[in-house]
C-alpha cells in the first residue's frame, strides 16, 4: 500500500490513485460484521429433516434404477437390421438414442441433484471465514531468494565467461531450426510451386463439357434459355478414384453453363467468341474464399454464393455486384465440336478461386 494514500480516518475502502493531492472522505456506513445465516427448516424440524433425507436417498435410488434401465435398453433396443441387405432403420437408431440418452442423462442428473440437495438441506457446515495474506513474499525471503540466485550466477561465472555464454546462446538459438526444417515435406517438394499449381485445371482445348454427376456430353440445343447446368471436363472421368488428384480437380474444375438471350449479354472485348448461342461457362468456385457457388436468379442473371453472399452478374462477364469477392468469376471459353457437343476452347485464362499473393491476373 506504500504507493497510495490511505485516508486519515483509517477507512480502507477509499484509495485515491496517485492521490497526493486529494483527501478521501470517510465511508458512510460501518461494517456490521458477518451476518449469520438463519436456521434451515431441516435444522429445526425433524420431519423436514427426514423428508429431505428421503428425497436425497430417493434421487440416488432412482439413479440406480435408471442405470439398470440403460443397460436394459442397450440390450433390448437393437439397431442392427435382421437382414443386412435392408440396412439400418433410422427410427430404431433414434429410439435407441433417446432411451439410452434419457436413462443415462437422468441418472447422472439425479446423482448430481441428490448430492446438491444433501449439501443444501442436511450438511451442517457453518459459513466459515479465512484470512487472506498478501501474496507477495516478505522482504527477507525475497532478498534471500535473490541472494541465492546471485550466488548461483556467480558460481557459474555466467556473466564473466562471455565466450561460453554467447556460444551457448548461439547453439540454443539454432537448435529449433531442425524442428522447423523437418516440416518442409508437409507440402510437395518437387514440381511446380503451390502458386503454379493453381494456374491450371484439366480443362484444355477440345475437352468436352459433361453434365455433372451423370457425365453426359451436352449439345447447345439441350439447354433452354434461363437454364443452369453444372458441368465437369470429360477428362475428369479418367482420374483415379484413389489419391488426391480427383478430389483436387473437383475443387478447381467445376463450371456452370448458363443460357440467356444473346441480347442480354454484355460481352467484354476479347470474349466475343467465348459463348455458344447465348451459352456461357463460368467457374463454379467463388473468387472470395472458394465455396462452390450455387444460387442463380434467372431473370437478373445474378449468381449468389451461399457462403458469404458474393454476387456475380453472369450476363456481364461474371463481374462482382455485391459482397466481399474482389474479382470476377473466371469464364471458360467454349465452342462446339464437329458432333455438335460443347467443348472448351482452352483452359481458364486466369486462375480459378480466391486471390493469392503470386497471382498477377
Amino acid at each position: 500500500m506504500s504507493a497510495h494514500n490511505v485516508n486519515p480516518s483509517g477507512d480502507e475502502h477509499a484509495v485515491v490513485p496517485h492521490g497526493e493531492h486529494a483527501v478521501v472522505p470517510a465511508d458512510p456506513i460501518a461494517d456490521p460484521g458477518l451476518h449469520h445465516e438463519e436456521l434451515r427448516l431441516t435444522d429445526v424440524d425433524k420431519k423436514a429433516e427426514r423428508r429431505a433425507e428421503r428425497q436425497v436417498a430417493g434421487m440416488f435410488a432412482l439413479a440406480s434404477v435408471l442405470t439398470v434401465a440403460f443397460i436394459v435398453f442397450y440390450v433390448v433396443v437393437g439397431i442392427h437390421p435382421d437382414d443386412p441387405e435392408h440396412g439400418v432403420n433410422i427410427g430404431d437408431v433414434q429410439v435407441s438414442n433417446l432411451t439410452l440418452g434419457l436413462t443415462l442423462g437422468l441418472a447422472l442428473f439425479l446423482v448430481g441433484a441428490g448430492a446438491v440437495q444433501w449439501a443444501r438441506s442436511l450438511m451442517t457446515s457453518p459459513e466459515v471465514v479465512a484470512e487472506r495474506h498478501e501474496l507477495r513474499g516478505d522482504d527477507e525471503t525475497r532478498a534471500a531468494a535473490l541472494a541465492d540466485f546471485d550466488t548461483g550466477t556467480e558460481e557459474t561465472g555466467f556473466g564473466r565467461r562471455k565466450l561460453i555464454r554467447n556460444s551457448l546462446l548461439g547453439a540454443l538459438a539454432l537448435l529449433p531450426l531442425p524442428a522447423v526444417i523437418l516440416l518442409r515435406d508437409l507440402g510437395p517438394n518437387t514440381g511446380p510451386t503451390p502458386a503454379q499449381r493453381k494456374e491450371h485445371t484439366i480443362w484444355a482445348e477440345g475437352v468436352r463439357v459433361l453434365t455433372d454427376v451423370t457425365f453426359r456430353p451436352i449439345r447447345a440445343a439441350d439447354l433452354e434459355i434461363g437454364q443452369l447446368v453444372n458441368a465437369m471436363p470429360a477428362t475428369f472421368e479418367d482420374l483415379p478414384d484413389h489419391g488426391p488428384e480427383r478430389i483436387n480437380e473437383r475443387a478447381k474444375s467445376p463450371v456452370m453453363l448458363v443460357r440467356m438471350l444473346p441480347q442480354d449479354i454484355h460481352v467484354e472485348p476479347g470474349r466475343e467468341n467465348w459463348g455458344v448461342d447465348g451459352i456461357l461457362a463460368y467457374s463454379k468456385i467463388c473468387t472470395h474464399v472458394g465455396c462452390p457457388i450455387s444460387l442463380y436468379e434467372q431473370t437478373t442473371h445474378h449468381m449468389l454464393c451461399p457462403c458469404h453472399q458474393s454476387t456475380f452478374d453472369l450476363s456481364d462477364n461474371g463481374k462482382v455486384i455485391f459482397g466481399p469477392a474482389t474479382r470476377s468469376l473466371p469464364q471458360l471459353p467454349i465452342a462446339v465440336d464437329s458432333e455438335g457437343y460443347l467443348i472448351a476452347q482452352s483452359d481458364f485464362t486466369e486462375p480459378v478461386g480466391p486471390s493469392y499473393w503470386e497471382r498477377t491476373r
Binding site: A14, Y74, L98
Partner: protein, 544 residues
C-alpha cells in the same frame, strides 16, 4: 468412527508416511469457497470439458482419420455405393452400427458447444466483476489462451467427419490462408499436403484434435485451478466480507458435495440434450464434395462471428508491387482475431494504467460501480453479436423477408455506430443505478406511502435501510480520478514526469470522472438530519 473414515484414514496414513500429505490436508481440507451463481459458469466449462474428454475417447475407438477413398457398403442404405472417405464412412458406422455411438457423437458435439459458451460466459463474468485485477492477471491470460484453444479444438473436431459442412469450413480456412501475403500459398500447401483438399488434412488435424490441443487445455486448466486454489477465490463484499478475508463454505464437505454434484448435473444435462435434440446429422449432408454446397448452412456458433465478418466486408483489394493484397479476406480472417484478442489479453494492464493501482483486489466489483468498464464490455458484446447476426444474414433475411443485402449494409454501418452507442447507453444506465443506490443510502427506500400534510403538501414516506443493507450498497471503494498535480513545482521547476502523469490522469478521468460517488459520512448525516423535517419522511418504527 465409521468404516469409511477408517478406510480413508488408512489411505491418508499411507500417503502421509511417504509425502507428508497431512500437512497439506490440514491446511486445505476446510479451505473456504465463496458461493454465488456466477461462480458456476467456470465450473460448467470444466465439467463439460471432462465429458468431452470421456465421450471423445469413446469416439476414437471406431473413428478412422483417413481420407482413403472407399465405396460405402454400411448399414445406412441411402449412402450405399457412394464413394467417400474412410473418415466419413466410419462416422456413419459410429452413428448407425454402434449402439450408443450416435449418443456419444451428439454428447461430444453438444458438450463442445456448451464448453465454449460456458468459457465465454465465465470470461464475461470475470470481466464485468473485475475479477481479472491483480493478483489474477495470470489466470486471465491463461483464460484467453484457453478460449483460443477451445475454438481450435472445436474447429478441428468439426472438420474431422469429412462431411459436406466440415469440408466447406476447411475451404474457407484455405481461402483465408491464401490471402496472407507472400507465404499464403505455401502455408496452404503445407497444411493440405499440396493442393486443396488433398488427402492428408484429416490425418493431420486428428492428432491436433485428440492429443495436442486437449493436452494443452488440460495442462492450462490445471494451472488455472492451481492458481485459483492458491490465491483463494474472489468474493462479493458485504457485512463481514472484506478484501482481506474470504467467507463461504468449507471445501470438504460442502464444496465437494455441491461442485461434485454439479459435475453430474452438467453431464446429465448435456446427455439429455444429446438424447433429445439432434445435432450435426452428417448422414444428411453427405460426404465432402468441393463442388457442392447447400444454402442456409451455419457453422458452429463460436465461429459464426468470423464467418459474419467475412460476409460483410466490402470488396477491398489492392496491389503491392503487382501482387494482390485482399483486405476483404485478410481483415476478417487474419486480422480480426488479433484485433479482438490483443486488447482482451492486455485489458487488466490497461485498466491498471487508469487506476494507477498496484494493490491486490479480492472483492468483486458490481458492474454498475465501474461504468466505463461495463460500457466497454457491453460495447464488445454488441460488436460480437452484430458479427454473429452477419454470420446468419441469409437466415435473418429469410425470417424478416428482406433482401440479404440490407442486412449486410445494416451491419456494415452498425458495426461502427452501435458499439459506441451501447457504450454510452450502458454507462448512463450504470450511473443511473449508482445514483439510485446513493439515494437509497441517503434517504432510505421508497415505501409507496404518500402523505398529505395539513398544508396540502404531498410527500412519500421513506423507510431507512438496515445497517447491513446500507453497507451492502457502500462497501465498494471510492474511485476518484487522479490529479496530475501542477506542471511546475513551487519554485517554477517543471515536473519531468508531468506529461505521463497527465496522460494517466486523462485515462483515469475517462474511467472515473463522472462516477456517482457513494455519500460521505458527513453527507449521510446531513441527509438524515434533513429527512426529519423535510420531504423525506421516515416511517414510524414498527411499520417496516
Amino acid at each position: 468412527m465409521s468404516a469409511i473414515v477408517n478406510g480413508a484414514g488408512k489411505v491418508v496414513d499411507f500417503v502421509d508416511q511417504r509425502i507428508t500429505a497431512s500437512n497439506w490436508l490440514k491446511r486445505n481440507i476446510r479451505k473456504v469457497f465463496p458461493d454465488h451463481w456466477s461462480f458456476l459458469l467456470g465450473e460448467i466449462a470444466l465439467f463439460s470439458f471432462i465429458l468431452i474428454l470421456l465421450s471423445g475417447v469413446f469416439l476414437t475407438l471406431w473413428f478412422k482419420p483417413s481420407m482413403a477413398h472407399i465405396v460405402y457398403e454400411g448399414a445406412y442404405l441411402p449412402m450405399r455405393g457412394v464413394g467417400m472417405s474412410e473418415a466419413y464412412a466410419t462416422t456413419l458406422d459410429l452413428s448407425f452400427e454402434v449402439r450408443g455411438g450416435l449418443l456419444m457423437r451428439q454428447v461430444h458435439h453438444w458438450g463442445a458447444l456448451i464448453f465454449l459458451a460456458a468459457m465465454s460466459a465465465h470470461m464475461l463474468r470475470v470481466f464485468f466483476t473485475g475479477a481479472f485485477r491483480k493478483p489474477r492477471e495470470i489466470n486471465w491470460l491463461i483464460g484467453v489462451v484457453l478460449l483460443v484453444l477451445g475454438v481450435a479444438a472445436g474447429f478441428t473436431g468439426y472438420s474431422l467427419p469429412d462431411d459436406l459442412l466440415s469440408g466447406t469450413g476447411l475451404r474457407i480456412i484455405e481461402g483465408g490462408m491464401l490471402a496472407i501475403p507472400i507465404v499464403g500459398t505455401y502455408m496452404s500447401s503445407f497444411l493440405f499436403g499440396g493442393e486443396y483438399p488433398g488427402d492428408d488434412i484429416i490425418a493431420r488435424l486428428y492428432p491436433m484434435h485428440i492429443l495436442l490441443i486437449p493436452g494443452l487445455i488440460l495442462a492450462l486448466v490445471t494451472a488455472h485451478l492451481m492458481i485459483l486454489w492458491y490465491q483463494k477465490h474472489t468474493h462479493w463484499g458485504g457485512p463481514g466480507k472484506t478484501n482481506t478475508n474470504v467467507a463461504g463454505a468449507p471445501f470438504f464437505p460442502i464444496y465437494v458435495a455441491k461442485a461434485g454434484g454439479f459435475q453430474f448435473i452438467v453431464m446429465g444435462v448435456i446427455v439429455l440434450l444429446a438424447a433429445t435434440i439432434q445435432i450435426n446429422p452428417v448422414w444428411l449432408w453427405g460426404p465432402y464434395d468441393p463442388s457442392v454446397v447447400s444454402a442456409g448452412t451455419q457453422p458452429d456458433w463460436y465461429v459464426g462471428f468470423l464467418d459474419g465478418a467475412l460476409r460483410v466486408m466490402p470488396p477491398w483489394e489492392f496491389y503491392v508491387f503487382g501482387h494482390p493484397v485482399t483486405m476483404s479476406v485478410l481483415i476478417p480472417a487474419i486480422l480480426l482475431p488479433g484485433i479482438i484478442l490483443t486488447p482482451l489479453a492486455l485489458y487488466p494492464w490497461l485498466e491498471q494504467k487508469a487506476t494507477g493501482d498496484t494493490r491486490e483486489h479480492h472483492l468483486l466489483d458490481r458492474p454498475r460501480n465501474v461504468p466505463v468498464r461495463t460500457g466497454i464490455g457491453v460495447a464488445f458484446i454488441v460488436f460480437y453479436i452484430l458479427l454473429w447476426i452477419a454470420g446468419g444474414n441469409d437466415f435473418f433475411a429469410t425470417i424478416l423477408e428482406i433482401p440479404v443485402n440490407w442486412i449486410t449494409w445494416f451491419i456494415r454501418i452498425g458495426i461502427f455506430v452501435l458499439p459506441p452507442l451501447a457504450f454510452w447507453m450502458t454507462k448512463r444506465i450504470c450511473l443511473g443505478l449508482q445514483r439510485r443506490d446513493r439515494d437509497k443510502v441517503m434517504h432510505g427506500r421508497e415505501t409507496g406511502i404518500v402523505m398529505v400534510s395539513p398544508d396540502g403538501e404531498f410527500s412519500e414516506l421513506h423507510a431507512p435501510l438496515s445497517q447491513a443493507a446500507a453497507y451492502q450498497l457502500t462497501w465498494h471503494e471510492r474511485q476518484l480520478p487522479s490529479d496530475p498535480g501542477p506542471a511546475t513545482d513551487a519554485n517554477g521547476i517543471p515536473n519531468p514526469n508531468y506529461r505521463s502523469k497527465r496522460a494517466q490522469a486523462r485515462l483515469s478521468r475517462f474511467y472515473f470522472g463522472d462516477v456517482v460517488q457513494k455519500p460521505t459520512r458527513e453527507e449521510l448525516e446531513a441527509a438524515h438530519h434533513d429527512g426529519h423535517d423535510d420531504t423525506h419522511r421516515e416511517l414510524p418504527s414498527g411499520q417496516h
